[in-house]
Every structure is written in structure tokens, then in C-alpha cells.
Amino acid sequence: MPNDGNISVRVDGLVKRFGSFTAVDRVSFSAYRGEILGFLGPNGAGKSTVIRILCGLLRPSEGSVIVAGVDVGKDPEGVRHHIGYMSQKFSLYNDLEVSENLRFFAGLYGVDRGIAGDRIREAISLAGLQGHEHDLTGTLAGGWKQRLALGCALLHRPEILFLDEPTSGVDPMSRRQFWDLIHGMSGRGVTVFVSTHYMDEAEYCDRLVLMNRGRVVAMGTPPELRHLVKKGALLLAKCEPLGTALQILQGSPGVAEAAVFGNSLHVRVEQAEDALVTLPAMLESRGVKCVSLKPIEASLEDVFVQLAGEQSAVRGGPDR
């Protein structure tokens, strides 16, 4: 952990309201130089709003936001030279050629003429688009577009990179390559903010901020977050029929939670040893065949389901 006090982003008590709707509710966190900070949460959790505020695209309603030493609330323009941003939707010009897009953004970021050529070549090779410099951007496949957009966001060598759901709609191979690039960035000391709703991608991050309904639910490294679940144990159950099993388990004593994951159930119990004995017997007695039941390591998705569940329980509202 680069926890050397070298803070590049500090957010304190951030609130963003749209009319009467509170999209971001008292969010605080810090990010350190060279760190990959992941924002995790379902759609509408407020991840994109936080990132847009950090980029100065939206003004905070309350709280302080310092990015690269600049108070974004007071000087949204001042932060632009230090950051690169890649939005949720692909947002380069489809009717411009690859090299024209890069030249355009190099111009906007004020990249020195002398080095702009080199930077553009670098961006092209980073995106693996050699030989496609004069293709219309609109004709590129999704993965290439994403990497080109990343290349554009990096032309001016920003200290901090904001990526809002960068891999949505991109095939798994390309996602993998994309993450390799992000790791490369962080290796060079660039702080990277990534929002995603792919739980598997969260494992690539140094630290995670879990958000739900505008609030930070939890924060920490992936192992730390997984550890949060270990109040109790997680079991994987394969049962037949699944639906009846779920119904039975949800009401049983000793079971904290049961949820469907693919074609099996994740069951969180207070005591693994006891449950491994009692549960199969109970299920069999109610006519459900228990094919297998074994303890497993909690995934981030389990963490999220648990934490989000606790939050709704506290607020008393129905879960989305």
C-alpha cells in the first residue's frame, strides 16, 4: 500500500443533491499516489456522480473535494490539467479518424507541439491501433475504442485518471488487456479511479469503495472487505429443487442469509460445523435433495449483498 501520506485526492463530507434527490450522501475518502481505487456498486449507487464531481463536471452541494491540490468546488477549471477522464459512454468523435481524434485532444490539453507527435504515436501503440491511424473511429470494435479513449485521456500525462465504467460492453479478452494497461499506469505513479459493476474486476483494484444509494457502505482492500463477511461462514449448497430450498433456508434458525448464485445457493450461517450437519437433514426432511454442501471463501459479491442488505435493513427500505 502506498500509504506514505502522499495523498492525491481527498474527499470530505461530499453531498450532491439534484432537486430533492440526494445522489451522493456524506461521502469521504482519500486516494494515494499510484493507487488504483475501485468504486463498486449497482447502477444508481452514485459512483458516476462522485467521479464527475471529482473531474469538476458537477459542482458539489456540500463538502470539500481536493484533487491534485486543487479545490474542485472553487476552481473546477484548475483541475483539468491534472486529470484524464473517460466517461461511461464511448465519447470520442465517431466521424473523426483515429489520429484526428488524438490530435484534437492533444490540442485541447495543450500538449506541446514538439512532443505531441510522440505522445500520439504512443497512444496508438498503447491502443494497439498501429496501421489503423486513418480508420474512422466509428468503425472500430468496442475494445479498441475503449483503449483509444484511454489513450486520449493519457495524452497530457495526467497525475490522476478517472475511468467511469470503462469496460461496460467490452468483451472479456479486451477487458483483460484493458486492466493490464491500467496496472501499467499505476506502476508509473498515476492514481487511477475506476468505477465498475463487474465484481470480478474489483479484485484488480488496490482498494475498493463500496457504494449503495449514494452512501459509502464499506471501504478497504479486497481481502479486508472479504474479511468483513467472516462473522460467520459461507456455504455453497447445490439443491434440487432450488426454489423450495431457498424458501426453506431463508426462514431456518442459524441461517443469516441465503441467495441464489448461478445454479446454486450461497448460504451464510453463524456456525459452519453445526450447519453442515443440520441443514442437509432438514432439507431432506422437507423433500429437498441436497446434492452437496461445502464451505467456501466469500467473494466480493457476497460482501456486497451482505452489506447492502444491512444498509437497507437499517433504513427500513426495500432493496433495489
Binding site: L57, R80, S91, Y93, D95, F105, G107, L108, R113, F162
Partner: protein, 379 residues
């Protein structure tokens, strides 16, 4: 203001115009189409007015009068009918616009009482054509009347001097010597084309970035609002100036409209007008993120006032006072006045001082508002 960012923005915008066939069509084909269409289609001149005749008398005198109508280039005497019912049918079915009815006692009255009426029926549906043809008919009849008097006095052996009190109206028509409506309408069409092209193209520039999602990326860069505005408008300004040159060439070489002013004054005023139009288009585009809505509004605030309230075809000084007051707010009013003066009068900038000032003030205000219109935040 960084020249580097400005150039990058303008170059991008220019590539997009050139690469989008629709913008190109609007930018290049639209002016030509409008010029040809309006140049040929818009004419107020009444020529070859279809005329029916109902000659109740059939005398030498009545025939002499009718011959004069036949000889007039304004009238096309098509048919002689024998009843009012036929006339009515002819006018109802648009077969004729004007009918001459010569009463059965025409020659007798001419001889005995010295006063012979000739009935001229005009189809009042189109009031302007009716007014013009009425005027031509009056002139024909007056000339006939004068000749009859002249002959009569001669036959009476009276001195010609007795036909006293003759006044010859000695007309000098300035600026548009042949009174061709094309000459006064075509300069106005230049304004119409500029308004149309400028508004349609610029009203979309910002809206398009929103709809295609490229705006967020643009906003996250260090570019300033005034750089966005200038960078986006410079290419359209150049397109507009090129269109103006195209319109000028077509009007002079194709339609033969006289151009008596200087090119410098033409392009200076056109530049001012373009700043106004583009600024308005840009502000609309900023305010309305929906491309469709933006183009609708753009037409409403540019094309509509330019075609109706600028005086390009409908004379401003004949409008009701309230409407005339509104025209002072219509920037195209000044441009059209200047254009007509430059084309037909050839007067210098001095005589047009008031209009020039008004247009310049308009351009300055709109330009200033446009730089402030664009905000670099999402909320």
C-alpha cells in the same frame, strides 16, 4: 485564450462538416437551390394578365379601345364572351384575372354626354395582382381617352391648345430602372440564405455533442467556454462567407441583378450579420440539448422573422405600427436594408450609418451573450 486549443477545436469542427454529407448539402446545395428557386419563383410583376372581354356594343369605338388592350404587353386578351355569367365562370375558375365590359351605349355616351364609363372587373383574390392590373388598365383607358379628345377637338376645328391642362407625368425611376421585382427580391434572398444556413448548421453543433455523448469528454479538458464557442463558430463563419460569395456571384452573373456598391461593404456587413446569426444559433444549441428542438427553435427565431419582418419582400413601411415597431428588433431588417442599398443604390457606408451601427451593436451584444451562454458544468 489559447490559440492551440482554438485551432484544434476549429479543425475538428471543420473535418466534421466536410465529412457529414448532410451538413455539406445544407452548406453548399441549399444556397444554390434557394437562389434558383426564389430567384425564378419569386416575382411580383404582373405580365400577360389573362383578360376576358364582354363587348356589349361591338362598335368602332369599343373595338378601338380593345385593340389598345391587345397591344399592351401587360395584358393577354384571351377571349370574348357574351354574358356576365360567362365572365363570372371565367373568373371563378381562374381563367382570367381581369375582365373588360364595354356597355352597349359606349359610343353614344362618348359622343353625346362626353362621359363614357368602361367597366373593369378584377379578381380581388390576389390583391396585389389586382392592384397592378387595375393600374395598367387605367393607363390604357386614359391614353385612349386623351386620343379621342384630341381627335374630337381637331374635328371641331378647335386649336389643339384647347386640349388644355394636359399634364405629362415625367417619371424617373431610380435604382431599379426597369422596375423588376427580381432586382429587389434577390438581395433579400442573400439574407434569407445566410439566416437559413447559419441557423440550421450552428443550432446543432452543441446539441449534437450532447446527444452523441462526446460533450463530457470535451468538458473534462482544460478548454474554456469562449474557446469552445469560437472554435466551433469559426468554420461556420467561413462557410457562411463562402455562401455569401456564392450568392453574390449567382445574383450578379446568373440573374443579372446590378451590383453598384463595393465588395468591401458587402462583406463587412455580411460578416456582422453572420456573427449575429451564428451567435444566436450557438445560444440555442447551448440552451436546448435536443437536436430536433434546437433546429425548430432556430428556424423560428431566424428564418421566420427574416422572411416576414425584414422587408425582403413585404415592405416594412406598409405594416401596421405595432408590427413595424417589432421589426426594429429584427436584426435581418438592417442587413436587408443595407444589402438592397449596396446592390441597387451603390451608396457608401456613410448613408447607411444608422443601419450599420444597429447591426454592429447587435453583433457585439449577441457575441458577448454567446461567450457567456456556454457553461462548463453538467448541472
Amino acid at each position: 485564450m489559447s490559440p492551440r486549443r482554438l485551432i484544434a477545436m476549429s479543425r475538428k469542427e471543420f473535418i466534421q462538416i466536410v465529412r457529414d454529407p448532410r451538413s455539406l448539402l445544407i452548406a453548399l446545395l441549399m444556397p444554390v437551390m434557394q437562389m434558383v428557386l426564389l430567384g425564378y419563383g419569386v416575382s411580383l410583376d404582373a405580365k400577360n394578365i389573362p383578360v376576358y372581354v364582354y363587348d356589349q356594343e361591338g362598335s368602332q369605338d369599343s373595338q378601338a379601345l380593345l385593340k389598345r388592350f391587345q397591344a399592351s404587353p401587360y395584358f393577354d386578351v384571351r377571349k370574348t364572351v357574351n354574358s356576365y355569367r360567362d365572365l363570372r365562370y371565367a373568373i371563378d375558375s381562374d381563367r382570367c384575372k381581369l375582365a373588360i365590359v364595354i356597355p352597349f351605349d359606349f359610343s353614344r355616351k362618348l359622343r353625346d354626354t362626353g362621359f363614357a364609363p368602361v367597366q373593369v372587373i378584377v379578381d380581388g383574390t390576389d390583391d396585389n395582382t389586382a392592384n397592378l392590373s387595375k393600374g395598367y388598365a387605367r393607363a390604357v383607358i386614359a391614353r385612349f381617352s386623351a386620343d379621342v379628345q384630341h381627335n374630337w377637338l381637331q374635328r371641331q376645328g378647335m386649336p389643339i391648345a384647347a386640349s388644355n391642362g394636359n399634364i405629362s407625368v415625367d417619371t424617373r425611376i431610380w435604382f431599379n430602372e426597369d422596375l423588376e421585382s427580381r432586382n429587389f427580391i434577390i438581395p433579400g434572398i442573400v439574407a434569407l440564405v445566410m439566416a437559413l444556413v447559419g441557423a440550421l448548421l450552428t443550432s446543432l453543433t452543441i446539441a449534437r455533442e450532447w446527444e452523441r455523448g462526446t460533450m463530457e469528454q470535451l468538458l473534462s479538458t482544460p478548454i474554456t467556454p469562449s474557446e469552445v464557442m469560437l472554435g466551433k463558430l469559426i468554420p461556420y463563419f467561413m462557410v457562411g462567407m463562402a455562401d455569401a460569395a456564392l450568392c453574390l456571384m449567382m445574383s450578379v452573373w446568373w440573374f443579372g441583378v446590378p451590383f453598384r456598391g463595393t465588395l468591401a461593404s458587402f462583406f463587412t456587413t455580411t460578416a456582422l450579420f453572420l456573427i449575429v446569426i451564428l451567435g444566436i444559433g450557438f445560444m440555442i444549441s447551448v440552451a436546448i440539448r435536443n437536436q430536433l428542438g434546437a433546429s425548430m427553435i432556430a428556424l423560428l427565431v431566424t428564418l421566420m422573422p427574416t422572411s416576414l419582418l425584414s422587408g425582403y419582400a413585404f415592405p416594412i413601411d406598409q405594416m401596421p405600427a405595432a408590427v413595424r415597431a417589432i421589426t426594429y428588433l429584427v436584426y435581418s431588417r438592417y442587413y436587408v436594408t443595407i444589402l438592397k442599398a449596396i446592390y441597387l443604390k451603390g451608396v457608401g457606408v456613410k448613408a447607411l450609418g444608422a443601419e450599420m451601427t444597429a447591426l454592429a451593436v447587435y453583433a457585439a451584444v449577441i457575441g458577448l451573450l454567446a461567450t457567456r451562454a456556454f457553461r462548463k458544468t453538467l448541472d
